[in-house]
């Protein structure tokens, strides 16, 4: 009996140990678990209305700020939240700004400059056989975008998005920029030393925060990267902070050349990378003017010239464009926010809707489904008479020359913003 009891207690103990082991294993697993970040490394351009929709049910501060954001910033590009988003956003933006100059000479000059920066890497004791693979990717991509066919369509981001979604290329370019930033900080310690919080020396900071792959960029890193790469290239960066701070709009911080040289502001607007920062994450945002083709008169694309007018004129050209997407616009006109996407994205013929397979197919699919599932009841009065209605004169994208009185009476599927957007994969 006693034996039995002891053997059963031993079995019990064994079972407990097993559970303890399992618990330990589970604990280990949970410690290692990271939320799987979805989506491409660098996403396609999308309408910034998506942000508004994303925050529709959030804290009022966010609702207010995102609502104020989308009229000013027409487009939005996601960057994967894999710990490298800040670096990747800046790296992609750097190439994108260079491509948009449409000037092979500018790109060639940058290529030469970055090649020459190898000397800087040598100077801080990095061995060429360790950095050459990274440098090569940057140089190659600059070569690609500096030549035909990429350079022929400077507003077509196809080559860049493709390249930046290849792990090898994308990560090598980030690493190259990290090394340049690190070396730059090493030789200019005085500019950064006063801002160190946790690290005793610049070298300690560089090796802990800048050089390792997968470490989030912090404000000081952003500043150093901009000083090292963007400023010498005549480019600037603007970060919009979307957080819960008490204000009606995002707070904007601009990093630019502080050497005091007077700038042509219109020119500068074309050379500014805009990042959207939400605590812990960076994405890219674009003003309408950022995406406009250069052959449009400057007054149309200059920021602040009136969003309504800009979009009207662009859309007009859109309707006349022989290359315009075969997709029926009336099909999506009923969905608030979508027409904005056309205006924002259209600017260059090659950037037609077809480039956005993902976005487009999802949208069509969901609205098609909605047709079947919900049927086509009339738009509600509230909606019809609100400024969300794209055929309402108070809508930002109201286009009088396309307006037909009959439209007001057309039966449209009643799809709320939420139903459409929630089907998106963010």
């Amino acid at each position: 009996m006693a034996e039995e009891a002891s053997s059963s207690s031993a079995a019990q103990e064994k079972a407990d140990m097993k559970t303890a082991q399992e618990l330990a294993d589970l604990e280990k697993l949970s410690a290692q678990w990271e939320p799987e970040s979805k989506g491409p490394l660098v996403g396609e351009l999308q309408s910034s209305k998506i942000l508004e929709a994303e925050y529709a049910g959030a804290d009022p501060v966010y609702v207010r700020k995102t609502a104020a954001l989308s009229p000013k910033y027409s487009n939005y590009r996601t960057i994967k939240g894999d710990g490298n988003c800040g670096w990747r956003a800046l790296a992609f933006g750097f190439f994108e700004l260079l491509l948009r100059t449409g000037d092979p000479k500018v790109i060639e000059k940058q290529r030469e400059y970055l090649k020459s920066q190898n000397a800087l890497l040598d100077q801080v004791g990095m061995s060429d056989y360790l950095y050459e693979d990274f440098v090569e990717e940057t140089i190659n991509l600059l070569k690609v975008i500096g030549e035909s066919p990429a350079i022929d369509n400077p507003y077509d981001d196809k080559f860049l998005v493709e390249a930046f979604n290849k792990d090898d290329t994308s990560n090598a370019i980030i690493t190259h920029l990290k090394l340049l930033t690190s070396a730059f900080m090493h030789i200019n310690p005085d500019s950064y030393l006063p801002f160190l919080v946790e690290h005793p020396t610049i070298d300690d900071y560089r090796s802990a925060q800048i050089e390792p792959y997968g470490v989030q960029i912090d404000h000081l890193g952003v500043k150093a990267l901009i000083d090292a790469i963007f400023i010498p290239a005549g480019l600037s960066v603007e970060i919009s902070y979307l957080d819960r701070s008490d204000s009606d709009e995002v707070n904007i911080h601009k990093f630019e050349d502080e050497s005091g040289t007077v700038k042509n502001t219109e020119d500068q607007a074309q050379k500014t990378l805009r990042m959207l920062y939400r605590p812990g994450h960076y994405d890219l945002i674009y003003k309408n003017g950022d995406l406009a083709p250069q052959n449009l008169p400057a007054r149309l694309v200059a920021p602040g010239s009136g969003d309504v007018r800009v979009s009207m004129i662009l859309s007009q050209e859109y309707t006349q464009n022989p290359f315009s997407s075969p997709m029926s616009t009336s099909h999506i006109l009923g969905i608030p926010g979508i027409s904005n996407e056309i205006c924002g994205q259209f600017p260059y013929p090659a950037r037609s809707y077809g480039n956005h397979d993902g976005t487009l197919s999802i949208m069509q699919e969901s609205s098609a489904q909605a047709d079947i599932e919900i049927g086509p009841p009339l738009l509600t009065k509230t909606f019809k008479n609100s400024h969300y209605n794209t055929i309402h004169f108070q809508n930002d994208h109201f286009q009088p020359e396309m307006w037909e009185p009959d439209q007001m009476a057309i039966e449209k599927p009643r799809i709320s913003k939420r139903t459409v957007w929630k089907k998106f994969r963010f």
């Binding site: 360790l130 792990d167 990560n171 090796s207």
Partner: protein, 165 residues
């Protein structure tokens, strides 16, 4: 991904052969698999490890050099920072954000600009200066702290064993 890693490892291998560093020897186990290396690390002079040649394997991840390799001793070794199974635990071998010894000197963190050579040199200096606070091998840490004589005796015995004595 791995193609990049192989290319990088090739140039590191070439560099190791051309500019030999005293006390460290490393190379791929076979030409078919560049992701697994064998290495030998000489016990640093003026330490109980002196005279030993410690063999280890280096295993490289597909995204090398973004992530660090792992290093595992294949000979008997007693050291506070070496797990009983031979795996070495020092900060240069940990991916960023997973640093068990936050206080270790900055030069020892992994980044894509680190190399096999740097790893092996770090391991060599780890042999000379154990960090008994990180404690991969708790018993070894305890012995190192409380009974240094016994620790050194065992270390010496293992060191002799590595060269067949």
């Amino acid at each position: 991904m791995a193609a990049k890693a192989v290319r990088r490892l090739l140039s590191e291998y070439r560099e190791l052969i051309n500019n030999e560093t005293d006390g460290i020897y490393a190379g791929p186990v076979s030409e078919d698999n560049f992701m697994l290396w064998e290495c030998l690390i000489a016990g640093p002079p003026d330490t109980p490890f002196e005279g030993g040649m410690f063999s280890a394997t280096l295993t490289f991840p597909d995204d090398y050099p973004l992530s660090p390799p792992t290093l595992k001793f294949t000979c008997d070794i007693l050291h506070p920072n070496v797990y009983p199974d031979g795996t070495v635990c020092i900060s240069i071998l940990h991916p960023p954000g997973d640093d068990p010894n936050m206080y270790e000197s900055a030069s020892e963190r992994w980044s894509p600009i680190q190399s096999v050579e740097k790893v092996l040199l770090s391991v060599m200096s780890m042999l000379a200066e154990p960090n008994d606070e990180s404690g991969a091998n708790v018993d070894a840490s305890k012995m190192f702290r409380e009974d240094r004589q016994q620790y050194e005796n065992i270390v010496r015995r293992y060191a002799r064993r590595t060269v067949g004595l």
